[in-house]
Symmetry: C5
Subunit: 307 residues, 5 copies
């Protein structure tokens, strides 16, 4: 095992060997295996946005096997999806790519000011499908957040006991926040910190803007001159806010119109000490050869970071 | 076993042999046995609409044994009903037709903008009554949908562990949708996809109209020129949206005034790659000889499809 | 065992011998034993309306032993009451009359538009008190109905597993219904059907009026000319709506000013194919000798029906 | 054992010997032991009203041991308190006075129109602390009453299974009642009856006024000339309403300005056939010697009643 | 063991030796070990206020190991934090400082008039991390308080059964109280008393002001001349209200602008008979050498108190 992986595993000192083994499988898999960087393919957009919106642009992606293949061929670190998608390929692709079962999901057939998610899978499901971990979304800022934290806590306790890793999507939204506030630097750092305090091994947040949402936080950020001018600085702050870099934090893109803009973001994640990317729509909403080229560039940027 | 059944069972690769056996029993039963097509008789209208509205037109149908007989004589693939109706015939008709126990139900003695359903049966009930599977309704678009998804998830996990199949009625309704939107193409495809992601083996939706309900979806459908002009094309899209055809999707009729109109719909389901029909009121709300003739025609259309 | 009892037990073909034994005990007990008719004494009015309103007119009835004695002396088929009343006599009167433990109750110290009931006993209580069955009230039409159906389902499953019978009081009320609608013919038939679908062995409803509440139902009733002119015809329709007479349906009185009016109702129940009466206030709200005379007349009417 | 105690235990004919033993311990303890009368010391006012309001007038009462001593020295039948107070003395005073663990409590840091209570202890706690029984408050008239009845039912079932007695504080309040109605005769009798139906062995209510709250009840009370002119008559009615005297009903004081007024109330409880008093604030909100004198007078009045 | 520790342990007479051992570990640890005084370091501010607001002023504090080190080096009695922070150091610092796992937490990404907290850890977590106890926050005055009391009760029962201590943060807030009322003397005493009644071993409240919030309480306090003029007198009242000093009550600071003001408060806690301090932000929101000096002064004040 590489020194870097050994170092990262050392941060999770309270976990049992079963869970450390699953984290190691994720960190040692794919092109970036051993570097301490991760690129994860998540495909829950069919549930979250609808199948047509998600896959009509690349109809091959309607087939659940497509995403296993994409993750394998691109050399991704892992593949995360809801129950149905994993059930439809977990046997055929057994052992080919680390799997993360998303245990809660949300659809957009009803819009709410304060969203929550439905529980859509169990730790038992993750075990029987051979997954390395469970995924769970929380919505800090929503009036349902306290219940969601409690659900995550219970599932995470069970997952850790059964030797699985815990991956948390921490997405601020709800009546406690302005639209701009959902990606504010202070809010993003806060959301990542909450996930870490709830026991997450790996945390996924959106790339933060330079906006500061909360008055009390803004005062401190300004007084202490928290560097926030560049995206890399903001990534660094989020990493710092997550146990001073002792938890794995990965990022999804903000609004990026072009591939080059995405690559620029990836460089900022790398330069800010982020641990990688989770890239959904930019991966499967184009033809596979193009997707493979795109993912190769992302992976190369991260690979370069460790040389 | 026919090649086609073997192929369909192959799609459910994560299920245990117990569940595959039950799916095989359903797919191999009746006139269409072995063709991969299904015609299921569902009789929950007594609960859903009231006994008088459902059975006064054909009073023989007040007797729970009538529906077992109808399903057997017509050569249907299976018969689905709530607890009371199955308890009243499961011993007498043991082994004569695959049974699906509907585990939730709704009545119309109180109308709600955002409906839910009562839990009316258990997996344990399905086991003791010798059923091949459980049935469950979800209402995407209702503010109770997240709770319903969670209920389905828990029941489906138990059903699969105990070797049963999971059949989901996915009926969009509630404050998230316009009346027209309940059968919109994008919404129907979305509802079928959600059921598949929740782990359903067989999914029942209504026939979709050409309407597109959600703004973001409409943009994509129009940009990608998703074929939606004919009913067969719309069926094909729904099948595609359900794991690219790797889940069994069956349909109930839309508003059809005449038998010929129903048969036309069935041909569209067949031509669009749908897996069959679930036909309730058109079956039992007429005298039995007439019902048998009607069902024979439907079955013949599907049978022709595999020649 | 009489042929008629054997026939009735045959309808409950999915139940285990334990439950059939309890049903047989009820059907074979008292003056009407073996006829297939039932007259049950229910005394939950102390809880439902208050002790003064219920018993001041006949103070002997404050004593819980009074009702056991009344049921025994009158030759009733069974006695149904809440936990406290049964605990206060179940040992002294062990084996003298079949007991039904009412598992939920409601008081009138707070009036609600959409009522529910409190769970006031358990299946375990019914077992330890030597009861033949459990009783449970549902309120179709109330916004709490779905939860009540779910509670009944769970309790009924446990009761059946443990060899008890399930008796359901199905009382339409709540914001889904007009006051007149609570006893409408279509609504009463619907309420009885729901109870049967939820797995009840014995169903108790109020005598239906000729009113038709629901627009969609009224259209069908009128088109199909469902006979509803006489009370006996309306009873017959409710019996038909309850699995075509293959579930035991009993009735409580509507508004009857005189004993003769009650007897007239009983004749209508008998003539309409109803299975008997459940008579509370008319039994215990008069002196015992008078009550015994009254109940004797009711029983005689039913007894005549089977000659 | 005295004949009277044997008689009282006979009323609880469905209880197991474990519970009867605990009831016997309570009825045989203290100065009134064997008489069938009870004087219980309850001290939950620290939780219910705050420690300053409760104990500042007699600061020795801040110490939890004080109340054990007071109950022992006064020869009370038992001592009832919340978890913390009992934990703080149950070992030191083991075996010196029967203990009742109050399993729910309420504070006044937030006033509600429809109050409920928090669950603050368990049956397991009562067992480990050596208690003879559990205490539980219900609020008939509150919109939370149905849930409270259900909580009591579950706890009472467990308590009885584990050989404990069940003591219920039945306090009408909430939006279903006027302020005057909370102590109305009809409402008090109703509240006591509900507690008895829920399976309580001992019931505690407030002394009733002559007011009649509910229209339907008032009509019956007036028509049947229920005697209600004197306090003793009203006590007698409440006792009658509680299974015709076959459940132990005890009373707390109404508004009494002087000790003599309290003694007058006690004589009325005695003369009306009540089973005793539960006296909190009048006991511990004065210096101990004075409290002992006060309690001795109360006990003497009851003791005289059995000569 | 010192006589004082033996005395304090004697107050918890109903606890098992496992729990007493954990209380002894806390009371015997650190500079104040054996004196009966406690200074606890709590670090949940990252969760409660956000990481930037909490740690930007002293970035070393982003690292979870920092707080273990601070608690160890300062000779604190214990260290309390949420799950994530303890998981990140419990192995490395095993046995170096008694740990308290905070089992519920709250964030400020949504402000509510009536706050609650999310359950963020379990008793099982506390056991596997080697903690001496669990921590739990209640909000007397919030409309969610009854549910919070019930959660605490259940967790405390489990903790005590498994040999852990129970530490309760009792923070009045919510629509039942004015802003000033949150730290009023009567309210603070009440909040501490509720925590004691719920079975807490150690109670943490804020330093009380001289304000009296509740009308009924104010009348008693004024009539009984409860001394409240100095902070030491108010501390003494809170200690008295908590089982007359037979439960350990510790305090967090009120608004103190300078270190000297804090020290003055500590002297008042000492002089009023309080058991110590819980000091978060004043500890970790400055550089470590300065924090150590600050904590040394606080500890010295308490140490002087026992000479």
């Amino acid at each position: 095992m590489s020194e870097r992986i050994r170092e990262i595993l050392g941060w999770y000192e309270s976990d049992n060997p079963g869970t450390l083994t699953k984290l190691a499988r994720l960190l040692k898999h794919g092109v970036l295996g051993g570097t301490g960087k991760l690129v994860i393919l998540p495909v829950d957009q069919g549930f979250e946005h609808g199948p047509g919106r998600s896959f009509a642009v690349n109809p091959a992606a309607y087939d659940p096997r497509y995403h296993f293949e994409l993750a394998v061929e691109a050399g991704c670190s892992g593949y995360a999806a809801p129950l149905g998608f994993l059930e439809a390929g977990a046997r055929e692709f057994a052992g080919e790519v680390p799997l993360i079962l998303k245990l809660n999901n949300h659809d957009v057939l009803l819009e709410e000011r304060d969203p929550s998610q439905a529980i859509t899978g169990s730790v038992e499901d993750a075990v029987r499908l051979g997954c390395v971990g469970i995924g769970f979304t929380i919505y800090p800022g929503s009036e349902h957040r306290l219940e969601m934290y409690g659900q995550l806590r219970a599932l995470a306790e069970e997952a850790k006991r059964r030797g699985l890793a815990v991956v948390v999507w921490s997405y601020p939204r709800g009546s406690g926040l302005s639209k701009e506030g959902e990606t504010a630097l202070d809010v993003t750092a806060y959301a990542a910190h909450i996930a870490a305090q709830l026991g997450a091994h790996i945390i996924k947040v959106k790339l933060p803007s330079a906006h500061l949402e909360q008055v009390a936080a803004r005062k401190v950020y300004e007084k202490q001159n928290v560097p926030a001018g560049t995206l890399a600085e903001r990534v660094r702050h989020v990493v710092q806010a997550t146990f001073n870099g002792r938890r794995v934090v990965i990022f999804s893109g903000g609004a990026a119109d072009t591939d080059d803009a995405v690559f620029e973001q990836v460089r900022a994640i790398r330069d800010g000490g982020g641990f990688g990317s989770i890239i959904g729509r930019n991966s499967f909403q184009r033809k596979k050869p193009e997707a493979l080229r795109f993912l190769k560039t992302v992976i190369d940027i991260y690979a370069g970071a460790v040389k």
